[in-house]
Symmetry: C2
DNA sequence: AATATTTACGAACGGTCGGTCGCTTTGTAG
DNA sequence: CTACAAAGCGACCGACCGTTCGTAAATATT
């Protein structure tokens, strides 16, 4: 069971390209992403990119996959370390905002940017992004339902929408209005919203 | 006191161009806006546009002005017809969502799209958009403060951020998750949030 | 009537875009 | 050693981009 050195090299290159492409896409847009700029930033040739993806659109779809994997690794998985219930919901929000604050992606949030970029441009990319959004909201709904089932929340109505709203608005406002005040608003707002619905508000943290 | 026929013609053209440019910008982005497409859509020549704006950037700045004027006319002014206090705050949210629902702009919300497009691209346009956002949040804060001063709300802390969050998230999700359910979520969420803070929740409407 | 200004046009420019083609290099397999 | 496949490159293509220039028509001023 040996490995093909050519394939591992290809895979390594592909990962490096997707990392850079993801970062560039958050700055210039998923469509504004230029293969020339991408190749230059990586020190490879533009035509070499076509050895890995047959078209720009194929690469864009791969970037979406890559972004989802990163989101899962750096936001969802850490949040799942929190105990079930409303604390896990809070952990997800907190972790998400920390992801934005750390400026992992120079353009803030890949998915938020992409949703707004493609919300009126029919095609494969928009359909794909729409499916990602539906998945994400379903996940938020599941966490909310679990918090209700665990007896942490009196009701979960509207909670997923509020969680998503505060996260999206925070990443939109942070560059213009300042990250500190913006993310603090986003945390305080969800804390107070969840506390108002919680059977035991004391299990939610106080902000320092 | 006669008028110069050349100037009125120019002004008429300028308005028509900005109308179309604003619509196109919400679809392809303020930067993705192409002068060729814009000229074709209007049946004028591309070079003719340079008689009115010296560069694409100058036109983009004019589009921002135009978008602000439209927002004032179609969202802010109608909302100001509501009585002072929390009802005016609600009217603003409701009117804003109605603006989105009516699909006045095919791409939903010019400013939300533009904020996400430029949040990592330094330059005149980003600075200008940032100033617009600060103005808008200051306006929301003023309306909130008035609602507190009128005795309608026990506290206004966090209210502007929540109002903005729900509006932005709604226009982001509507195309992918369906306008009806999305805007209903956005309305219910703010209603319940405001009612929880209201001294007299009954002055806020029930959703049919 | 002569002149100036505003509006608008067509043609052309240099530059960048996504994409193709033929080739070389690197590594695997028989 | 040979044959093959994956990775990667440089040159080139047509299309579109924002912009400039010279010009013409309409409308104003003198």
């Amino acid at each position: 069971m040996t490995v093909d050195g050519r394939l591992v090299r290809g895979e390594r290159t592909r990962t490096a390209v997707l990392d850079q492409a993801l970062r560039l896409a958050t700055v210039n847009g998923l469509d504004g992403l230029s293969l020339s700029q991408l190749a230059d930033a990586l020190g490879v040739s533009k035509s070499g990119l076509f050895a890995h993806w047959r078209s720009k659109e194929a690469l864009q779809l791969a970037v979406i996959d890559h972004a989802r994997a990163q989101w899962t690794d750096e936001v969802i998985r850490p949040a799942l370390a929190a105990p079930h219930g409303v604390r896990r919901l809070w952990a997800l929000h907190d972790r998400r905002l920390a992801f934005y604050e750390a400026r992992v992606l120079p353009g803030g949030c890949f998915f938020a940017n992409a949703h707004f970029e493609f919300n009126a441009r029919p095609g494969v990319l928009r359909d794909r992004l729409g499916a990602e959004l539906a998945d994400w909201m379903a996940f938020l709904t599941r966490l909310t339902d679990e918090a209700v089932a665990a007896g942490d929340l009196r009701t979960g109505a509207g909670v997923p929408f509020v969680v998503e709203s505060l996260g999206v608005c925070a990443v939109m406002q942070a560059p213009a209005l300042g990250p500190d005040v913006t993310f603090r608003h986003a945390r305080l707002a969800l804390l107070s919203h969840l506390r108002a619905l919680a059977t035991d508000p004391s299990i939610l943290p106080e902000l320092s």
